[in-house]
Symmetry: C2
Subunit: 194 residues, 2 copies
DNA sequence: TAAATTTATTGACATTTGTCAATCACCAGT
DNA sequence: ACTGGTGATTGACAAATGTCAATAAATTTA
């Protein structure tokens, strides 16, 4: 698929959904830079302080953890039209437990922690948009917690098929597995057993 | 323990941490009402739309789910100096999947959805405080997700002992168990096997 | 205080899920 | 078309966790 020439097109569209006046949109855009990534490019490694918040124009970011045994666990999958970062590290400016990887060739906008705070303190409209994004993400995380504490592996997989069917086609099944908190083999068996 | 006469004391103190000027604090307080609960009092039942956001002066709120088999799962435990509600239901004004229970006799402030939005739209300072609360809660929820997808029952219990040791003394162990997403029996065995 | 109720612990066993290893299928590059 | 590599599937088994039942301990209520 061919992306529009203007890398800020999607972002502006996103912003305009939440803003009455359009006058500040260009100010916001000025703080975001544009970047393309290759498949599997690493944007943040464990123990680095996360300096950027990303907006995904196309492609997908994967925020994931690596445990002592070398097992990966996917904290989030961030697709088109969404914001993503290693949030605790970005917000608190402390070393990240998670890494960020560009799963596919991606087209991204990104803003530095410093500029992000400039927007936050100078533009009430940005504070509002950010708050709305936080609310949405928080609600999603609550649902994720609920699925993890109340459902078994099969139920979680079925729930994911209902809420995010595109994930299942789009991402390798070992990532779906560790997003669900189960092993690749268990997921494979769930799929075959109807 | 005897609480101060002014039920807004803790709340004001909380607000003043995040506000430069104190002039709006009384405005905020006006929108919050005061309420005492009995032990085990139910503040919200499943399928009701959650109308209130609570601030806990003393006591504890438990936000929990009930599955088809009658198993309870604790989504959150909200203690002194914290805000709590059935967030997805409160925010989206849709029927709640969770119930809210006052685990102990509690002293609460609460604000209606309507008044909450009045504050949100009329006071940038409230928007800011709310945003800061959201950030904190969101970070906590991310850590909870991480512990659920990367750790086994024993590790989760140990992590809880480190981050919230007071929980373990304070709450019945079956609630700790379903907060961790494990059965009461498994928790009981974890405790005995060191 | 005693009785009644709830909560916690323990054992036996079933189920779920993980681990390791082998095989299979697919794709990328030559 | 071959080849090497990655990802997916399957089997055999091990480990973790859940379930059910019995008992013990603690708490509440009369």
């Amino acid at each position: 698929m061919q992306l529009s020439n203007d890398p800020y097109r999607l972002f502006k569209q996103f912003l305009s959904l939440h803003l009455e006046a359009d006058d500040q949109i260009t100010e916001f855009c000025k703080k975001f830079k544009h970047k393309k990534t290759k498949k599997n490019e690493l944007l943040l490694s464990v123990d680095e302080v996360c300096s950027y918040l990303y907006f995904v124009n196309s492609g997908c970011l994967r925020i994931y953890l690596l445990d002592n045994n070398g097992n990966e666990s996917t904290r989030f999958l961030v697709t088109e039209n969404k914001f993503g970062t290693s949030f605790p590290s970005f917000k608190l400016q402390e070393p990240s437990l998670a890494s960020i990887q560009s799963l596919e060739p991606a087209d991204l906008l990104y803003i530095s922690y410093k500029d992000f705070n400039v927007l936050l303190h100078e533009y009430p409209a940005w504070e509002r948009i950010y708050r709305i994004i936080l609310e949405k993400e928080y609600i999603e995380s609550i649902k994720r917690i609920e699925s993890l504490i109340t459902m078994d592996a099969k139920q979680r997989y079925q729930a994911l098929m209902e809420t995010s069917p595109s994930f299942i086609q789009r991402f390798p099944s070992r990532m779906i597995a560790d997003y669900l908190g189960i092993s690749q083999e268990t997921l494979s068996r769930l799929k075959s057993k109807r």
